[in-house]
Protein backbone atom coordinates (compact mmCIF):
# COMPACT_ATOMS: atom_id res chain seq x y z
CA UNK A 1 0.00 0.00 0.00
CA UNK A 2 1.24 3.52 -0.76
CA UNK A 3 -0.04 6.73 0.73
CA UNK A 4 -0.68 10.15 -0.71
CA UNK A 5 2.03 12.61 0.36
CA UNK A 6 -0.49 15.45 0.41
CA UNK A 7 -3.49 14.02 2.31
CA UNK A 8 -2.00 10.88 3.88
CA UNK A 9 -4.73 8.57 2.60
CA UNK A 10 -4.35 5.33 0.62
CA UNK A 11 -3.53 6.32 -2.98
CA UNK A 12 -5.84 3.55 -4.20
CA UNK A 13 -8.72 5.01 -2.23
CA UNK A 14 -10.47 7.89 -3.94
CA UNK A 15 -9.38 10.55 -6.37
CA UNK A 16 -6.09 12.29 -5.63
CA UNK A 17 -6.04 14.62 -8.64
CA UNK A 18 -6.32 17.67 -6.40
CA UNK A 19 -3.52 16.33 -4.18
CA UNK A 20 -1.26 15.79 -7.20
CA UNK A 21 -2.00 19.28 -8.43
CA UNK A 22 -1.05 20.83 -5.09
CA UNK A 23 2.11 18.72 -4.84
CA UNK A 24 3.12 19.78 -8.35
CA UNK A 25 2.56 23.46 -7.64
CA UNK A 26 2.96 24.67 -4.07
CA UNK A 27 3.24 21.87 -1.53
CA UNK A 28 6.10 19.73 -0.29
CA UNK A 29 5.17 16.20 0.81
CA UNK A 30 3.65 16.15 4.31
CA UNK A 31 2.97 12.41 4.77
CA UNK A 32 5.35 9.51 4.30
CA UNK A 33 4.27 7.56 1.21
CA UNK A 34 5.29 4.30 2.87
CA UNK A 35 3.55 4.59 6.24
CA UNK A 36 1.44 7.81 6.17
CA UNK A 37 3.22 9.24 9.21
CA UNK A 38 3.32 13.02 9.26
CA UNK A 39 6.82 14.11 8.36
CA UNK A 40 8.93 16.95 9.74
CA UNK A 41 9.35 19.24 6.75
CA UNK A 42 11.78 22.12 6.34
CA UNK A 43 11.22 24.39 3.37
CA UNK A 44 14.17 26.53 2.24
CA UNK A 45 14.38 29.13 -0.56
CA UNK A 46 15.42 26.58 -3.16
CA UNK A 47 14.15 23.27 -1.86
CA UNK A 48 12.71 21.17 0.94
CA UNK A 49 13.60 18.22 3.16
CA UNK A 50 11.00 15.90 4.70
CA UNK A 51 11.85 13.38 7.42
CA UNK A 52 9.81 10.37 8.47
CA UNK A 53 10.72 8.98 11.90
CA UNK A 54 10.54 5.45 10.47
CA UNK A 55 11.63 5.74 6.84
CA UNK A 56 14.19 8.55 6.87
CA UNK A 57 14.60 11.71 4.87
CA UNK A 58 13.69 12.64 1.33
CA UNK A 59 14.57 15.96 -0.29
CA UNK A 60 13.65 18.00 -3.33
CA UNK A 61 17.15 17.31 -4.63
CA UNK A 62 16.28 13.57 -4.76
Amino acid sequence: MTYCSFCGKDTADGDHAFCRQRLSMIDPPRYCSECARRMVVQVTPDGWAARCSRHGEITSAR
Partner: protein, 338 residues
Protein backbone atom coordinates in the same frame (compact mmCIF):
# COMPACT_ATOMS: atom_id res chain seq x y z
CA UNK B 1 -19.81 72.79 -16.28
CA UNK B 2 -18.49 70.47 -13.55
CA UNK B 3 -19.66 66.88 -13.38
CA UNK B 4 -21.58 65.82 -10.28
CA UNK B 5 -19.30 63.92 -7.84
CA UNK B 6 -20.97 60.59 -8.50
CA UNK B 7 -20.26 60.97 -12.23
CA UNK B 8 -16.53 61.51 -11.86
CA UNK B 9 -14.67 58.44 -12.99
CA UNK B 10 -12.45 57.06 -10.25
CA UNK B 11 -9.55 56.34 -12.60
CA UNK B 12 -9.67 59.93 -13.88
CA UNK B 13 -9.60 61.09 -10.26
CA UNK B 14 -6.70 58.74 -9.54
CA UNK B 15 -4.72 60.02 -12.52
CA UNK B 16 -4.85 63.55 -11.17
CA UNK B 17 -4.65 62.75 -7.46
CA UNK B 18 -2.27 59.79 -7.27
CA UNK B 19 -0.20 59.97 -10.43
CA UNK B 20 0.22 63.75 -10.57
CA UNK B 21 0.20 64.62 -6.86
CA UNK B 22 1.22 61.38 -5.17
CA UNK B 23 -1.78 61.38 -2.82
CA UNK B 24 -3.20 57.90 -2.19
CA UNK B 25 -6.86 57.13 -2.76
CA UNK B 26 -9.37 57.39 0.09
CA UNK B 27 -11.33 54.39 1.35
CA UNK B 28 -14.38 55.34 -0.75
CA UNK B 29 -12.20 55.74 -3.83
CA UNK B 30 -10.43 52.40 -3.27
CA UNK B 31 -13.83 50.72 -2.99
CA UNK B 32 -14.86 52.21 -6.34
CA UNK B 33 -11.70 50.80 -7.90
CA UNK B 34 -12.39 47.38 -6.41
CA UNK B 35 -15.86 47.51 -7.97
CA UNK B 36 -14.64 48.38 -11.48
CA UNK B 37 -15.96 46.06 -14.18
CA UNK B 38 -13.56 43.46 -15.56
CA UNK B 39 -13.20 45.24 -18.90
CA UNK B 40 -11.56 48.21 -17.13
CA UNK B 41 -8.86 46.16 -15.38
CA UNK B 42 -6.25 46.76 -18.13
CA UNK B 43 -6.79 50.52 -17.77
CA UNK B 44 -6.47 50.25 -13.97
CA UNK B 45 -3.27 48.21 -14.19
CA UNK B 46 -1.72 50.60 -16.71
CA UNK B 47 -2.38 53.52 -14.40
CA UNK B 48 -1.10 51.64 -11.35
CA UNK B 49 2.08 50.83 -13.27
CA UNK B 50 2.55 54.49 -14.19
CA UNK B 51 2.07 55.43 -10.54
CA UNK B 52 4.63 52.88 -9.42
CA UNK B 53 7.18 54.11 -11.98
CA UNK B 54 6.56 57.76 -11.13
CA UNK B 55 6.77 57.45 -7.34
CA UNK B 56 8.95 54.37 -6.79
CA UNK B 57 11.09 54.12 -9.93
CA UNK B 58 11.71 51.19 -12.26
CA UNK B 59 13.61 48.86 -9.90
CA UNK B 60 12.15 45.69 -8.44
CA UNK B 61 13.20 44.63 -4.94
CA UNK B 62 13.87 40.90 -4.71
CA UNK B 63 13.64 39.03 -1.41
CA UNK B 64 13.95 35.51 -0.11
CA UNK B 65 12.41 34.19 3.10
CA UNK B 66 12.93 31.19 5.34
CA UNK B 67 11.18 29.68 8.33
CA UNK B 68 13.55 29.46 11.30
CA UNK B 69 10.92 27.94 13.57
CA UNK B 70 8.05 26.15 11.88
CA UNK B 71 4.71 25.06 13.34
CA UNK B 72 3.48 24.71 16.91
CA UNK B 73 2.35 28.34 17.17
CA UNK B 74 -0.03 29.04 20.08
CA UNK B 75 -2.01 31.63 18.09
CA UNK B 76 -5.14 30.81 16.10
CA UNK B 77 -4.70 32.78 12.87
CA UNK B 78 -7.30 30.93 10.82
CA UNK B 79 -5.34 31.06 7.56
CA UNK B 80 -2.18 29.56 9.02
CA UNK B 81 -1.10 25.94 8.74
CA UNK B 82 1.48 26.56 11.50
CA UNK B 83 -1.04 27.12 14.27
CA UNK B 84 -0.89 24.41 16.90
CA UNK B 85 -4.63 24.82 17.42
CA UNK B 86 -5.67 23.22 14.12
CA UNK B 87 -5.25 19.67 12.77
CA UNK B 88 -2.79 20.75 10.08
CA UNK B 89 -0.21 18.27 8.78
CA UNK B 90 2.59 20.80 9.43
CA UNK B 91 4.85 19.56 12.22
CA UNK B 92 7.20 21.64 14.33
CA UNK B 93 10.72 22.11 13.02
CA UNK B 94 13.75 24.28 13.82
CA UNK B 95 16.26 25.27 11.20
CA UNK B 96 19.84 25.04 12.48
CA UNK B 97 22.42 27.79 11.97
CA UNK B 98 24.23 26.10 9.04
CA UNK B 99 20.84 25.67 7.35
CA UNK B 100 20.05 29.35 7.90
CA UNK B 101 23.42 30.39 6.46
CA UNK B 102 22.80 28.20 3.38
CA UNK B 103 19.33 29.70 2.92
CA UNK B 104 20.75 33.24 3.10
CA UNK B 105 23.44 32.31 0.59
CA UNK B 106 20.89 30.77 -1.81
CA UNK B 107 18.88 33.98 -1.55
CA UNK B 108 21.86 36.28 -2.16
CA UNK B 109 22.84 34.24 -5.20
CA UNK B 110 19.55 35.17 -6.86
CA UNK B 111 20.53 38.85 -6.71
CA UNK B 112 18.12 39.47 -3.84
CA UNK B 113 18.86 42.33 -1.46
CA UNK B 114 16.57 41.15 1.33
CA UNK B 115 16.51 38.00 3.42
CA UNK B 116 13.73 37.61 5.95
CA UNK B 117 14.04 35.24 8.91
CA UNK B 118 10.59 34.15 10.05
CA UNK B 119 9.33 32.27 13.11
CA UNK B 120 5.83 30.96 13.87
CA UNK B 121 5.43 32.37 17.37
CA UNK B 122 3.27 34.82 19.32
CA UNK B 123 6.48 36.67 20.12
CA UNK B 124 10.14 35.71 20.45
CA UNK B 125 11.54 34.15 23.63
CA UNK B 126 15.20 34.26 24.69
CA UNK B 127 16.03 31.03 22.85
CA UNK B 128 14.62 32.32 19.58
CA UNK B 129 16.32 35.71 19.85
CA UNK B 130 19.59 33.97 20.66
CA UNK B 131 19.17 31.78 17.54
CA UNK B 132 18.51 34.88 15.43
CA UNK B 133 21.54 36.67 16.88
CA UNK B 134 23.81 33.68 16.22
CA UNK B 135 22.29 33.23 12.78
CA UNK B 136 22.95 36.82 11.72
CA UNK B 137 26.53 36.60 12.97
CA UNK B 138 27.04 33.37 11.00
CA UNK B 139 25.51 34.88 7.83
CA UNK B 140 27.94 37.79 8.06
CA UNK B 141 30.84 35.44 8.81
CA UNK B 142 29.93 33.68 5.57
CA UNK B 143 30.68 36.91 3.72
CA UNK B 144 27.03 37.57 2.91
CA UNK B 145 26.13 41.27 2.93
CA UNK B 146 22.41 40.81 2.23
CA UNK B 147 20.03 43.03 4.21
CA UNK B 148 18.37 41.07 6.99
CA UNK B 149 14.75 41.39 7.97
CA UNK B 150 12.90 39.49 10.68
CA UNK B 151 9.33 38.41 11.34
CA UNK B 152 9.07 37.07 14.89
CA UNK B 153 5.61 38.12 16.03
CA UNK B 154 4.73 40.71 18.63
CA UNK B 155 7.62 42.44 20.38
CA UNK B 156 8.40 44.26 23.60
CA UNK B 157 10.42 47.47 23.49
CA UNK B 158 13.43 45.57 24.85
CA UNK B 159 13.18 43.05 22.00
CA UNK B 160 12.85 45.82 19.43
CA UNK B 161 16.06 47.35 20.80
CA UNK B 162 17.82 43.97 20.65
CA UNK B 163 16.88 43.50 17.01
CA UNK B 164 18.15 46.98 16.15
CA UNK B 165 21.44 46.14 17.90
CA UNK B 166 21.71 42.95 15.82
CA UNK B 167 21.52 45.02 12.63
CA UNK B 168 18.04 43.96 11.55
CA UNK B 169 16.99 46.74 9.19
CA UNK B 170 13.36 45.81 8.48
CA UNK B 171 10.70 44.04 10.51
CA UNK B 172 7.66 42.29 9.09
CA UNK B 173 4.48 42.19 11.10
CA UNK B 174 1.32 41.90 9.05
CA UNK B 175 -1.97 43.42 10.11
CA UNK B 176 -3.36 40.67 7.83
CA UNK B 177 -6.77 42.23 7.15
CA UNK B 178 -9.04 45.16 7.93
CA UNK B 179 -9.46 46.06 11.56
CA UNK B 180 -13.19 45.32 11.31
CA UNK B 181 -12.52 41.80 9.96
CA UNK B 182 -9.56 40.87 12.16
CA UNK B 183 -11.62 39.34 15.02
CA UNK B 184 -13.04 36.84 12.50
CA UNK B 185 -9.53 35.78 11.54
CA UNK B 186 -7.65 35.79 14.85
CA UNK B 187 -9.03 35.57 18.39
CA UNK B 188 -5.87 35.04 20.45
CA UNK B 189 -4.61 38.59 20.04
CA UNK B 190 -5.94 41.85 18.66
CA UNK B 191 -5.31 44.05 15.65
CA UNK B 192 -4.35 46.79 18.10
CA UNK B 193 -1.61 44.65 19.67
CA UNK B 194 -0.10 44.22 16.22
CA UNK B 195 -0.41 47.96 15.58
CA UNK B 196 1.47 48.66 18.84
CA UNK B 197 4.38 46.48 17.76
CA UNK B 198 4.48 48.26 14.40
CA UNK B 199 4.66 51.67 16.06
CA UNK B 200 7.58 50.51 18.24
CA UNK B 201 9.41 49.25 15.16
CA UNK B 202 8.93 52.55 13.37
CA UNK B 203 9.97 54.59 16.41
CA UNK B 204 13.14 52.51 16.77
CA UNK B 205 14.18 53.37 13.23
CA UNK B 206 13.65 49.98 11.63
CA UNK B 207 11.84 49.84 8.31
CA UNK B 208 8.25 48.66 8.64
CA UNK B 209 6.99 45.80 6.49
CA UNK B 210 3.28 45.27 6.96
CA UNK B 211 0.73 43.67 4.68
CA UNK B 212 -1.82 40.95 4.71
CA UNK B 213 -3.78 38.28 2.97
CA UNK B 214 -6.56 38.77 0.44
CA UNK B 215 -9.38 36.23 0.27
CA UNK B 216 -10.14 35.50 3.93
CA UNK B 217 -13.86 36.23 3.66
CA UNK B 218 -13.51 40.00 3.83
CA UNK B 219 -15.93 42.16 1.86
CA UNK B 220 -14.74 44.55 -0.83
CA UNK B 221 -15.49 47.39 1.59
CA UNK B 222 -13.23 45.74 4.16
CA UNK B 223 -10.53 45.30 1.53
CA UNK B 224 -10.73 49.06 0.87
CA UNK B 225 -10.69 49.69 4.62
CA UNK B 226 -7.54 47.60 4.92
CA UNK B 227 -5.76 49.47 2.12
CA UNK B 228 -6.27 52.85 3.79
CA UNK B 229 -5.40 51.51 7.23
CA UNK B 230 -2.09 50.36 5.77
CA UNK B 231 -1.63 53.77 4.16
CA UNK B 232 -2.19 55.40 7.54
CA UNK B 233 0.67 53.31 8.95
CA UNK B 234 2.97 54.52 6.12
CA UNK B 235 4.87 51.23 5.88
CA UNK B 236 8.05 50.99 3.84
CA UNK B 237 6.80 47.73 2.37
CA UNK B 238 3.45 46.00 1.94
CA UNK B 239 3.55 42.28 1.12
CA UNK B 240 0.37 41.24 -0.63
CA UNK B 241 -0.55 37.60 -0.12
CA UNK B 242 -3.49 35.67 -1.57
CA UNK B 243 -5.02 32.99 0.59
CA UNK B 244 -3.69 29.48 0.14
CA UNK B 245 -6.46 27.28 1.57
CA UNK B 246 -4.26 24.90 3.49
CA UNK B 247 -5.51 21.54 4.83
CA UNK B 248 -6.56 21.47 8.46
CA UNK B 249 -7.03 25.22 8.77
CA UNK B 250 -10.48 26.76 9.23
CA UNK B 251 -10.10 28.25 5.74
CA UNK B 252 -9.18 25.01 3.97
CA UNK B 253 -12.35 25.09 1.88
CA UNK B 254 -12.25 28.78 1.01
CA UNK B 255 -12.01 29.44 -2.71
CA UNK B 256 -8.76 30.63 -4.25
CA UNK B 257 -9.01 34.32 -5.13
CA UNK B 258 -9.91 34.60 -8.79
CA UNK B 259 -7.22 36.16 -11.02
CA UNK B 260 -9.18 39.21 -12.21
CA UNK B 261 -10.22 40.05 -8.65
CA UNK B 262 -6.63 39.72 -7.48
CA UNK B 263 -5.36 42.01 -10.24
CA UNK B 264 -8.01 44.56 -9.35
CA UNK B 265 -6.77 44.38 -5.76
CA UNK B 266 -3.14 44.86 -6.80
CA UNK B 267 -4.06 47.97 -8.78
CA UNK B 268 -6.25 49.36 -6.02
CA UNK B 269 -3.56 48.88 -3.35
CA UNK B 270 -0.99 50.64 -5.53
CA UNK B 271 -3.35 53.60 -5.94
CA UNK B 272 -3.83 53.71 -2.15
CA UNK B 273 -0.07 53.38 -1.50
CA UNK B 274 1.75 55.22 -4.28
CA UNK B 275 5.18 55.38 -2.61
CA UNK B 276 5.30 52.00 -0.86
CA UNK B 277 7.23 48.91 -1.88
CA UNK B 278 4.34 46.63 -2.91
CA UNK B 279 5.47 43.03 -2.87
CA UNK B 280 4.02 39.96 -4.53
CA UNK B 281 4.07 37.34 -1.78
CA UNK B 282 2.40 33.99 -1.06
CA UNK B 283 -0.47 32.55 -3.05
CA UNK B 284 0.26 34.20 -6.37
CA UNK B 285 1.11 30.84 -7.95
CA UNK B 286 -2.41 29.50 -7.30
CA UNK B 287 -4.22 32.77 -7.98
CA UNK B 288 -2.44 34.02 -11.06
CA UNK B 289 -0.41 31.30 -12.67
CA UNK B 290 2.40 32.51 -14.93
CA UNK B 291 0.51 34.99 -17.06
CA UNK B 292 -1.09 36.84 -14.17
CA UNK B 293 2.24 37.27 -12.41
CA UNK B 294 3.40 39.34 -15.37
CA UNK B 295 0.21 41.35 -15.34
CA UNK B 296 0.72 42.08 -11.66
CA UNK B 297 4.28 43.21 -12.26
CA UNK B 298 2.90 45.56 -14.90
CA UNK B 299 0.09 46.64 -12.60
CA UNK B 300 1.76 48.31 -9.65
CA UNK B 301 3.91 45.62 -8.02
CA UNK B 302 7.57 46.56 -7.52
CA UNK B 303 8.90 43.78 -5.30
CA UNK B 304 8.78 40.03 -5.26
CA UNK B 305 9.54 37.07 -3.03
CA UNK B 306 11.52 34.59 -5.07
CA UNK B 307 11.84 30.89 -4.41
CA UNK B 308 9.90 29.07 -1.74
CA UNK B 309 7.85 30.48 1.11
CA UNK B 310 7.63 29.25 4.68
CA UNK B 311 5.64 26.04 4.34
CA UNK B 312 4.51 26.30 0.72
CA UNK B 313 6.62 26.23 -2.41
CA UNK B 314 7.00 29.05 -4.90
CA UNK B 315 8.17 29.12 -8.47
CA UNK B 316 11.89 28.50 -9.00
CA UNK B 317 13.69 31.81 -8.43
CA UNK B 318 15.18 31.74 -11.92
CA UNK B 319 11.70 31.71 -13.45
CA UNK B 320 10.88 35.01 -11.75
CA UNK B 321 14.27 36.49 -12.57
CA UNK B 322 13.73 35.55 -16.22
CA UNK B 323 10.31 37.20 -16.07
CA UNK B 324 11.84 40.43 -14.76
CA UNK B 325 14.42 40.37 -17.53
CA UNK B 326 11.71 39.79 -20.11
CA UNK B 327 9.81 42.75 -18.72
CA UNK B 328 13.01 44.87 -18.74
CA UNK B 329 12.62 45.52 -15.03
CA UNK B 330 15.97 46.08 -13.29
CA UNK B 331 16.57 44.36 -9.96
CA UNK B 332 17.32 46.79 -7.15
CA UNK B 333 20.99 46.53 -6.25
CA UNK B 334 22.26 46.18 -2.72
CA UNK B 335 24.21 49.45 -3.07
CA UNK B 336 20.90 51.28 -3.58
CA UNK B 337 19.52 50.03 -0.30
CA UNK B 338 22.45 50.87 1.95
Amino acid sequence: MTAAPEQIDVLDEAREQVLERGVGLSEAQVLKVLELPEDRIPELLALAHEVRERWCGPEVEVEGIVSLKTGGCPEDCHFCSQSGQFPSPVRSAWLDIPGLVRAARQTRETGATEFCIVAAVRGPDKRLLSQVRDGIKAIRADGNDIQIACSLGMLTQEQVDELVAMGVHRYNHNLETARSHFPNVVTTHSWEERWDTLKMIRDAGMEVCCGGIIGMGESLAQRAEFAVQLAELEPDEVPLNFLIPNPGTPYENYPVVEGAEALRTVGAFRLALPRTILRFAGGRELTFGDLGAKQGMLGGINAIIVGNYLTNLGRPAQQDLDMLEELSMPIKALSQTL
